[in-house]
Structures are given as C-alpha cells and as structure tokens.
C-alpha cells in the first residue's frame, strides 16, 4: 500500500538530490543514477499494475480516510488503466534517458532533475482521485514541459516555441480551474468519488454543463484537438528529441485521459439525457482534428513538425473512439494509445538519430543521405507501416475494435476517416523515409520557402569538411541511441502475445466506465447512490468483422503507398506549376499554412472561438 506514494516521492527526491549535488557529480554518475532510479520506478509501476489485478486500489494521503462515507482527504484511485499509464510513462522516460545519454554532448544535472519531476507529475496525474490535485499535477507537468522544451535556450526558435506552448496551455489551465470552481460551488466537494455521489442526484442543468465545458476545454488544449492544436507543432519542432519522445508518446494523450476520466466518473450520470449531443460534439471535434492533422502533416518539410501533426491526427482518432462511449471502443482506445505512443516514440528516436548524424531535420537537406544506414532504414519503414495500422502492432488491434463498434452503431464512414488519416500520415512519413534513405524524389518546395533552421543538436560543433560520412557513419551511431527505438517498437507488438493481456484490457475498460465501482471503493460499500446505468455493447458477427478488416487493410496499404510515392514526384510538380487546374490545391495549401502563423494572438483567438463554439452548440441545440 505504501508503494503508491513512493512512486510519486522517489522521482521528486531523486530530482532534488541531482539538483543539489549535480555540479559535483561526473556526467557518468548522473546518467547512471538516473537510469538506475528509473528502472526502480518501472519495477514499482509494474508491481502496482499487478496489485490492481484484483480491483482498484485507493490510497488516502495522510491517513485521512472517509468519515461516515464522506471524503475528507485527498485520494489516489489506482485502477488498471491508471497503473498502465504510469507504467507506460516510466518505460518511455527510461528509453528517453538512455537515448539522451549519447545525444547531449554536455549536460548538467538539471536536465535529469526536470525529467524526474516531469515523470513524477505524469504518474501523479494518471493516478489522482481528486479534482484539484489533478489540476496541480497538470500544472506541474506543464511547467516542467515548458522548461524542457526551452532547454536549448541559446536558439531563438526554441524560446519562441516554448512561449507559444506556455501561453496557450496556461490560459487553458485557468479555464479548467474556473470549471473546477463552478463544480465546487455546486457540490462542495473536490474528491472525484464524492463529486460523483453529489452529481448523480443532480439533473442536467446549465451550471454543470458550463463546468464540464470549461474543465474539458482546458484539458483538450493539452490534448491538442483542433481549435487548440497550434502549439503542439511549434513545441515539438524545437524541443530536444528525448523530450519530444515524452511529449508525443504520453503527455498529449494524458489530456484526453483526463477528459475521459472526468466524463465517466462525474458527468455520465447527469448528462444521461443529453448524451447524444455530447457524443456528436466530440465526434465532430475528432473527425476535424484527424483530417486537418493529416493534411497539415503531409504539407510539412520539417520532419519533427510532420510527426507532431501526425500526433494531432492520431489524437483526433482517439477522440472519435472516446466519443463512441462504449466499453469495447474504450478497450480499442487503450490498445491504440499504447501502440501509437510507443511507435511515435520510436519514430522520434529515429529522427533524433538522423539529427545526430547529419545535423538536419529538413526533408530536403537530408535527401539521399541515409542510403548506407540499412538498420535504421529498416526500423524506420517498419515504424511507418506500424503507424499506419498493420497486423501485429497494437494500434491495428485497437483500430479494428473501434471499427467493430462503429459498424455496429451504423457509422460506417468512421472507418473511412480512420483509413484516410492513417493513410495520409503514414504516407507522409513514407515519403520522408524514401527521400532520406533512397535517392528518390524531386526537390521543389511545397509552399514553404525555407524551414526555420533549428537543426543542430545542442553543443554539437559545426561539421567542417565533407568527409564521406557513409561508411564510418554506421559505427558512429551509438548503440545507446538505437536500443530505445528497438525497445519501443518491440513493446508495440509484444503485449498482445502475453497471456491474458486482452482479457485484462477488457476488464480495465469495463472498470473505467463503471462509476459505482469508483464510489464504492473510495468511500466504502454502504454509500447511498442514486441511479446509474452503463451502456451495453451491441453484438457483432465475427465473420463480418474479418471481411471488413481485410478489405480496409488493402485500401489502407494502397493509400499509404500512393501518397508516399506521389509525394516524391507528383506533389512537388503540382505546387510548382502555375496552371489553372492546380490553383485550388495551391490556394488551399497556402491558406492552411497562413492559418498556422506562429503568432500567440492568433492561437488565443482560435482558443476563444473554439470554447465559444463548443459552448454555444451544447447550450442551444
């Protein structure tokens, strides 16, 4: 039982020790201590996951257990999904620390201590059972993420990206806090189980709707859905690679986790009558996010920005899966999350290896340079097709579950949205891979004159002469950098083959949705609750599902290959032609680029517009 606070306390303790003694420690010692402590934390999270196999575990801080079934303290509610997220966070941090061992030329103790605070706050965020406590971990996570994003503070673009990130996330957090205040005003409670008890006997009214809107818009800013997504591309482009691994792998998805947790625990009961409206809203948000993210992804030249837009697109798909509000869809969402997180982390590591070797992340500058890197190219193409959703990988299994539910609810067009966005994003990454690792493709700018030259890893000297880097290069890439990529790709496949994994995920999804389990575990068995329902899964024929999946897979492979190959020759030709027939495409492309202007005022305007639109839709329709 004391494991839970130790998971939060140990990284914070390590980070204070590293800050205090970091200037007296050798770099080897700092790295060794960090990786060792991180392995211990991974082991503790794994033990925690095993503990939740019998049911959720609740820990009340300071011994303030509920008094007569009323919560008087701050709790951590650890169910399977929360523990799994904490485990995923610690594994991703471990890979990122192993990668940064060789990535940074010179580093002091404060990088590692910030990583540990980041780790601790993400674990606390995923395990927390109190609404304000959730907010505090959220703010701590944002603050360390800003500091890590601006790590290369001698480059102007890092500062700009980090400022964009900071301002929009801070405003979103304040909106979330306003929502928390409104909920506190209505119910007088901050503990999520207590709130669930109070809100279950309230019917739908405008105050609860506004509170839900504010709280979820604040978390959706972190999750980078469409009107609030502008900061993610900027932040990813300038953050050091090990930090981008953590951002895309887990930090962004935690916003969606918070919305899902808050919806199911607090608001599923009062919103029972208006569930269809909320589902429609989230479905629309998800569809627009995934399509826009995929299109913007295709039009990028800076590889990290491209990967960031593909994260946005996949988050859109996850929001669609959440909007189905079904435990099987949630099961698919969890599998998709794990698969996407690890594969995206592996892709960022591979791009980091390219950056380390060639000092550029510009697609055109890197053209043909990776021809001799056979191992890296094999990993890169595997990761590309994995991201597109291919059979052994977890995101394929998740996607097929989501498709199954979508078909059962007669929403067949959702499968096509999945195919379109996965196809476009994987096609864009395939285009990059083909350009870098073979010498195919024509160079001609896709509406971007020059990407910002934020290319050098920190403290690397500028490469002087043009030695033929090819043969010597393969031995120059340190094993410590390749190992995390292989680890992450392996972790995106192997959980499926562990005995009992699918049943555990299904139980996890069912547990996440059942609010009364949450209340009873936290406050005791004899709590009085008024009316709860949970939705049943519609049944689906198994043969039908297999046929659907096969034909969709074929279309998906086709789209990925076509968009990848088109991008090499046809698309640059379209954008450099001046004819009237390509005018609409060129105009739309330049319009989308102008929208993503990099100005904070624009981002905040879109934020305000988004919140107003969502609120207007929920109130008046």
């Amino acid at each position: 039982m004391n494991l839970i606070p130790l998971i939060i306390a140990l990284p914070l303790l390590t980070s204070s020790v590293l800050i205090a003694f970091g200037s007296f420690m050798q770099r080897r010692l700092i790295e060794g201590v960090s990786i060792f402590i991180n392995i211990i934390i991974c082991w503790m999270c794994f033990k925690l996951l095993q503990m939740t196999a019998e049911g959720p575990v609740v820990y009340w801080f300071g011994g303030w257990v509920p008094h007569e079934h009323v919560a008087t303290g701050i709790s951590f509610y650890v169910d399977r999904i929360g523990a799994a997220i904490a485990l995923m966070v610690s594994i991703l941090t471990l890979g990122s620390l192993i990668f940064s061992w060789k990535y940074f030329r010179e580093i002091k103790g404060y990088y590692h201590s910030m990583i540990f605070i980041f780790l601790s706050s993400m674990c606390g965020f995923s395990l927390s059972g109190d609404l304000f406590n959730l907010f505090v971990w959220f703010e701590l996570m944002s603050a360390t993420a800003i500091a890590l994003c601006a790590y290369k503070s001698d480059e102007l673009s890092s500062l700009h990206g980090a400022l964009n990130f900071a301002v929009i996330n801070t405003v979103g957090a304040f909106l979330s806090l306003t929502g928390i205040g409104l909920i506190y005003a209505r119910t007088g409670a901050l503990n999520m189980a207590q709130l669930a008890v109070s809100l279950s006997s309230t019917s739908f009214n405008f105050l609860i709707l506004t509170a839900f809107l504010f709280i979820s818009c604040g978390f959706l800013v972190k999750a980078a859905v469409v009107p609030f997504h502008f900061w993610l591309a900027d932040a990813h482009a300038v953050a050091p690679t090990p930090v981008s691994v953590l951002f895309s792998g887990i930090m962004v998805e935690l916003g969606l986790y918070a919305v899902a947790r808050i919806y199911w625990v607090l608001f599923s009961s009062p919103f029972e009558t208006h569930q269809i409206k909320i589902q429609l809203l989230f479905m629309a948000i998800g569809v627009i996010t995934s399509v826009l993210g995929a299109i913007m992804c295709y039009m990028q030249r800076h590889i990290k920005r491209l990967l960031a837009f593909s994260t946005i697109s996949h988050i859109g798909l996850m929001v669609i899966a959440f909007a189905l509000l079904n435990h099987k869809a949630l099961q698919g969402l969890v599998l998709y999350w794990i698969g996407h997180g690890f594969i995206k982390a592996a892709l960022f590591i591979l791009v980091g290896i390219l950056l380390h070797a060639f000092e550029s992340v510009d697609e055109y500058e890197l053209r043909g340079k990776g021809v001799e890197l056979n191992g890296i190219s094999f990993l890169f193409f595997t990761a590309t097709f994995a991201l597109g959703g291919f059979p052994p990988f977890l995101n394929f299994i998740g996607k097929s579950l989501i498709d199954e539910i979508a078909t059962a609810l007669h929403l067949n067009w959702l499968s096509w949205i999945f195919i379109l966005s996965e196809g476009l994003t994987a096609g864009a990454i395939l285009r990059v891979g083909l350009r870098v690792f073979t010498r195919l493709g024509v160079i001609s700018p896709i509406l971007q004159e020059e990407p910002f030259s934020q290319n050098r890893p920190s403290d690397q000297p500028v490469k002087g002469g043009e030695e033929s880097e090819t043969r010597k290069l393969i031995s120059k890439i340190p094993k410590a950098m390749i190992f995390p990529a292989i680890l992450f790709l392996a972790l995106a496949i192997t959980p499926h083959f562990i005995l009992g994994f699918s049943e555990q995920v299904e139980k996890a999804a069912v547990e996440f949705i059942q609010t009364d389990t949450y209340i009873k575990k936290s406050l005791g068995e004899k709590v009085v609750i008024n009316h709860f329902h949970h939705r049943e899964t519609p049944k689906v024929h198994v043969e039908e599902k297999k046929r659907l999946v096969l034909s969709h897979q074929v279309v998906l492979i086709f789209i990925i290959l076509i968009t990848g190959l088109f991008g090499l020759w046809v698309v640059p030709a379209i954008f450099s032609s001046k004819s009237i027939f390509t005018f609409p495409i060129r105009k739309m492309g330049s319009f989308l680029h102008i929208l993503h202007s990099g100005q904070i005022g624009d981002y905040l305007t879109w934020f305000t517009l988004g919140v107003a639109l969502f609120g207007g839709y929920l109130s008046f329709f």
């Binding site: 703010e139 603050a143 800003i146 801070t170 005003a185 990407p451 910002f452 904070i600 005022g601 305000t608």
Partner: protein, 115 residues
C-alpha cells in the same frame, strides 16, 4: 444583481485579460495579462467561499459549530498562487532570453514558426 457581483467581475476580468493577451505587443505585457486571468480565478473561488456576516476560519475564540468563511477555497488559492507563480516566472525568464537575442519584445515580430 449585487448578489452576483463576484461572478460578473470574475467573468469580466477573465475576458479582459484574454483580450489583452490576444492583442499584446510586448511579452511582459502578455505575462501580466496571464496574471490578470489568474486573478479572475481567485475572485471566483473566494467569492464562492464567502459568507455574509461570517467570521474568518480561525477557531481560537469561536465555538466549534459556528459557520465561518470557507477555508478550503483559501487553501486552494494559496496552492494555486504558488503553482502559477512558477509558470509566470518561467514565462518571464523566456521573455528576458528573447529580449537578449532580438533586442525587442514584440510577439508579432517573431515569425519563425510559420506554417
């Protein structure tokens, strides 16, 4: 109307801070606008916790069952002040670094992140 003054002023200050942040031409001004938005949340929370004619929640000379002003929101706001001061300090230090490199503080002149 006077009963709802707390909530109306919290909304007004939030929107004012947001407008200032959108139209800002100086990074320091932007950070202060974020602090203004933060103040609106303080007004909201403290207004929620307020009770008319109730004493402060210090139970030295008061009977134990008297209704005081809500201490929970005060604790929440103290926590929030600490957390947000960290974030604003980070933002201000980033602004100082930008000033060191470009000698001006205008967000609209930074056009690196286009596209």
């Amino acid at each position: 109307m006077m009963d709802h003054m707390f909530y109306l002023s919290a909304i007004w200050i939030f929107l004012l801070g947001l407008l200032g942040a959108i139209r800002s031409k100086n990074f320091i001004h932007l950070c202060i606008c974020l602090a203004i938005i933060q103040s609106s949340t303080y007004i909201l929370f403290l207004g929620i916790g307020f009770r008319v004619n109730a004493p402060a929640p210090v139970f030295v000379n008061l009977p134990a069952n008297i209704k005081t002003v809500d201490p929970v929101v005060q604790a929440l706001m103290l926590t929030d002040i600490v957390v947000e001061s960290t974030v604003i300090a980070l933002l201000l230090s980033l602004s100082v670094q930008i000033h060191k490199r470009t000698k001006n503080l205008d967000p609209n002149l930074l056009t690196i992140m286009k596209g």
